[in-house]
Every structure is written in C-alpha cells, then in structure tokens.
Amino acid sequence: MITLRNIVKEYDGKQDSGRAVDGLNLEINKGEFVALLGPSGCGKTTTLMMLAGLLKPTSGEILFNGKLVNHVEPKDRNIGMVFQSYALYPHLSVRDNIAFPLRERKIPKQEAYERAKETSKILQIDHLLDRKPSQLSGGQQQRVAMARALSKNPEILLLDEPMSNLDARLKLDVRDEIRKIQRNLGVTTIIVTHDQEEALAISDRVAILNGGQIQQYAPPHELFNHPVNLFVASFLGNPPMNLVQGELREMNGNQVVVTEGFEYLLPADRRLDKAHMGKSVKFGIRPHDIAICSPTDHQRIKMKVDLVEHLGSGKLVKVIDPLGKLDTMIRLLTGNEAEIESGDEVYIKFKENKFHLFDMNDNGRNLLQYK
C-alpha cells in the first residue's frame, strides 16, 4: 500500500517559486490501478517522480507498506517505470535493455537473459530480442519499455504518459493490454496522463489534480456523475458539461435556479439548506442528460437550434435563446434519428436529478455532492 501525506514540492531556483505540489494526500491499495489526471502543470508528473524517488519532496511523507521511503533511492524502492520517451538504452539490444535492471542487480547473465525472454513473451516481443531500439516502431518500443519495467518483478509500476506517442488506434490496443497484464501480475500501477478517456478507461480510481492539489479521488463513474467541484465537472467529459450562471431563490415555497434564459425548479428530493438561498451558482448538466421534448412537457425550455454537428454515433446540437438576445448556450446530444436542422425552434428538458449546482462563493463546490 502506498500512502502520500501532505506532500509539498517546491522547485528552487525558479522565477516563480510556486509549489508544483501543494499538500497532496493519496492512498493507493495493493494491486490497484490509479491514474493521476490533470491539465499540464498540475503536478502529476512531479508526484510520479517523487514516488519513483527521482525527486525528493520538500515536506511530507511517502510511505510504502507503512515504511517511510522519502530518502530511499529509486533502485531500492522495487519499482518499474515507463517513461514518456521510453528512454530505451539506444546502444543495447532489446534483450540487453530488458535484462539491464537484472544485470545491475548482479543476477548472472544466463538467468537474466532467461527472465528477459519470459517477460518479452508476455508482451509478445520475443521475436525482436536481437534488434536495437532504433530498429523498432513506436508501439514496439513502448512494449520494450514495459518489458524492461516489469522484468524485475516490481511491486509498483509507474507509467509516465506511456501512450502519448502512439496513434489513436494503437492506443486502444495498448491500453487494453496494459490493463490485462496489470490484472494478471497484480502489480500496483500508477499512470500519469492528461488524456481523460485513457484515465477513465484503464483505472480503478482516478485522482484529478489541479494546482498541485487533488480535487477528487474516486472511481471513474463517480467522478463523472458526482463531481465535487466545478473544476472536476468542467475538466471531465467530452463534449464538456453545460454550465449556466444563475442564482438560487425561494419562490412560493419552491427552490428555483434562476438564470438569464430559464428558471429551473429543484425537485423535492434535491432541496437545499435554506442558507444557500440567494447564492450565485453555476447550473451544470451534461449534454447527454438533456432531451428534446414535446411542447407540453413539464419544465420545458424553448430554444432555437444554432448548429448541428454529426459525431457519427449521434448528433451534437447547439441551442441558443430563441430571440437571439441572451448569451445562454446549451449543447445537447441526440440520436441520429432526430430530425433537427439549424434554425428550428425546439423544446428541451433536463433529465431529472442529473444536474449539478456549483457554489461560486466557495471555489465551485458542488452543492448536491453525495455525502
């Protein structure tokens, strides 16, 4: 088990002496697959480097199985690592690359080569053992890097954007394969990525980082359906969540979100504390939680279609205020069968209980977060 406690990392000698990582707490269970996800500069790679021991935290504690490892050298942490650039040793053959960590542990050549061969079979590169890294394709190099990381049977596998140099289709295959190998070997794995689809698809839990702090650490579906704050909500999802500026009000005993373009009545089971009334909020709802409805439906909103994009699997419809005077703009997803063209007037409806309210006075905290 890996525990990070109040980790702070400051790079000295930099002009902006801001903190790359600012009070980060994280727990990773044995055998778990965890992704560190965030925009560039959020501190995810710095965190991984500290887990590897290539960087020392300014303060805080890193524990592996309850033991403090802050000052333990990378080689003594029993980790395997795959770098974004793969960092294969260019002058060694694939066999020597994979056997390198073993040879450095004074394992006899014969045995090291045998283990290298076994590992290479798992990754299906045993026919490439005599090649040099420069004679391999990108995907093959990636496999060699994985094999080198796994050849010493590490307890922890660290992956630093391992798939960012692969093309989209290859990414899917490699992703599945990494997941499969990780399950079979049961190795605790931490992946750093800026690709949310990759993070959500591959991991048991995802830690979303921003500004050197963890915003939310949860299984993928929970992140997606119950974001804790505005950052997580707007960062995840493609097309992104619709966010409309509004205000919470009490009207005739009902709680209502009042926005420029529409008013939305909160259902009874989503009633908020009275203290929240009058607050400035962002009303958020994902494009696939909005439906086009009939003119008689309850809580309908009249809008005008501005643009229809064909995504292949469906249509992305951009609707605006019917009079064109307000800034309200909402994106929604419909099936291919819906016959809609730009200029049409439509009624839309939010699927019940799929909306979020983010408190703009409290760093965008989600008021409807489950406890």
Partner: protein
C-alpha cells in the same frame, strides 16, 4: 500606353544547370590556387633536386631512396611515433575525463563551466606567447619557475637543465595541454545531447556509475571519438610548430619528428626537393593511419541507415 506592345522576353544567357557552378567558382578557384596547386607542386618537387640555386632537375625516385637510406630516419620515425601516440592517448584520455566529469557528474553546475573555460585558454592564446610561457616554466637557469621552486625548497642544489633531460616530455605536455580543449568541446556536446530520461531510467534500474558510463555515455561518444582520434592524429603526425619553437628538434635530434625534419631540410637547408619528398611521406603515413582508424571504428556502420519505419 499601348496594351498590345509585347514585353521583350528576357532570356537568360546560360542554361539553368550552369548557375550552381558559377556560385561555386570563386571559392573553387581559391582552393585550386592555395591547396591543389601547391599539392601538385610538392609532388612534382619531390622528384627534382630543387635547392637554393632554384634550378630544378628531374632526378626520379632518388629523393625517396635517399630518405630511406638516411641514417637519421629510424630515430626520427621513432620520435614521430612516440610523440604522436603519447600526445594522442593523453589528449584523448583527458578530454574524455574532463567531459564526463563536467557534463555528467557536475552537469549544470557553474564550476563545470568555469573549469571548461579554463581549459580553453591554452588554445586561444597565440602559439608564440604560449610557448614562451612553457619556456619560462622549464627554463634551465635559476630564473625558470620549476627550478626556482626546487631550489627554494632545497630539493635540488643546482638548476636542472630540463630541456636536455626531458625534452620530449615537455614537447608532448605543451602540445597536449593546448589540444585537449578541442576534443573536450566535441565530447561535451555529445554527452550533453544524451536525453535526461536515460539517466533517470538508469537510476530506476539501479545502474552503477560504471554502467552509466560504459553502457550509456561511451557508446554515444563513438563517432565523436573517431573524428577526434583521426583529426588529432593527423595533426600530431604533421605538426612541427610547437616543437620548432620549443626545442627546434633538439637536443641533438631527440625531438625531431618527420614533419619537422621536412621543414628543416626544405627551409633551413634549402633542399626543397628532398623536403618535399619527406613531407610527401608524412602525407602518405597520415592517409594510411586515417584508413586504418576508419576501419577500426567500423565507419560503414555510421553511414548505414538503421531506422525501420513502420
């Protein structure tokens, strides 16, 4: 203006494919006058008995047979070999040590930069000034730096005549100190081009410093090392300038190398024909050594494209 007037079509005076040659011509002419013609003249001269009287007469291979029967030749060849091999190995070794120390162990530190700049100084200052400095250090009188120190410490009671005792050592020392920086710059640049991730991967893999140097740094330096070896070797085999200024080949012929011998024969004794023959032999030796080292470093490997695109 009349719209129908036909613009006279400008016709280029030469065919298109001629133009590149015009651009090359000025420099090619310089090369011809200052490199090719003198080379041909030297070759021609080596078959004549041209001397101070300036009346050349064709003598066939007589100059060459004279070189090989010259009783000085064994000693001179030996001096040349000692001078070249020692200078080359010491210079390469130090360039390698300094580059690895400053670009790997002290990477990015200001001390590393200062240290490398210090090594550059000997190759920047004019040769005559530089040689005077060495002459002052090893001066055989009490005024010489080393002699003064030794006398003051009481190690020696009389000033030591360094140039008669260790002339070859001093010549090699002075030459090496001024050539190290050339190799150092090339090797440092090559080490600097190694991606940082490789060192990180090596640390994660538990590589020892020895493995990092042997398996990551040295293989990267193969081609720069080849270039430095060949260019410095040719330089040492054909160099005479420092030796001439420091010892002028003495004492006796102890520090006379083949190229200095050629210079002395041609310009001191005015045996131009004979000097040309000796320097032609220097060129042939350099050429053979170059081929030898290209083979040794497996030069074909570098030209062969190894990348397989998918």
């Amino acid at each position: 203006m009349d719209h129908t007037t036909v613009q006279p079509i400008y016709k280029k005076p030469f065919k298109k494919k001629m133009y590149p040659y015009f651009f090359i011509m000025p420099f090619a002419a310089l090369v011809l006058v200052f490199f090719v013609l003198p080379a041909i003249a030297t070759i021609a001269m080596s078959f004549t008995d041209l001397n101070a009287s300036m009346k050349p007469k064709f003598v066939g291979l007589q100059n060459f047979t004279r070189v090989f029967s010259d009783y000085n030749l064994p000693a001179i060849l030996w001096n040349t070999a000692i001078f070249s091999i020692l200078s080359l190995s010491v210079s390469l070794l130090f360039a390698l040590i300094i580059s690895i120390a400053t670009q790997y162990f002290l990477k990015g530190k200001i001390t590393a930069v200062i240290y490398r700049v210090l090594w550059l100084i000997p190759s920047i200052i004019p040769a005559v000034v530089y040689v005077t400095f060495w002459k002052y250090i090893f001066d055989p009188t009490e005024g010489g730096l080393i002699n003064r120190i030794l006398l003051q410490l009481g190690v020696e009671s009389d000033p030591v005549s360094w140039f008669s005792k260790a002339a070859m050592g001093i010549v090699i020392l002075a030459t090496v100190v001024s050539t190290i920086s050339g190799g150092m710059i090339l090797l440092s640049a090559a080490i600097n081009s190694i991606p940082e991730d490789l060192y990180k991967a090596a640390r994660v893999d538990g590589a020892s410093e020895k493995s990092v140097i042997m398996k990551i740094i040295l293989p990267t330096l193969k081609w720069p090392l080849m270039y430095i070896t060949i260019s410095e070797l040719i330089g040492f085999v054909s160099s005479y300038f420092f030796i001439m200024l420091l010892t002028n080949g003495g004492p006796m012929r102890d520090t006379t190398t083949l190229s200095l011998y050629a210079y002395q024969q041609a310009f001191n004794l005015k045996y131009y024909g004979y000097g040309a023959a000796v320097s032609l032999i220097v060129v042939i030796i350099s050429f053979i050594l170059t081929l030898l080292f290209l083979r040794l470093f497996d030069f074909d490997q570098m030209i062969k494209p190894s990348r397989i695109e998918d």
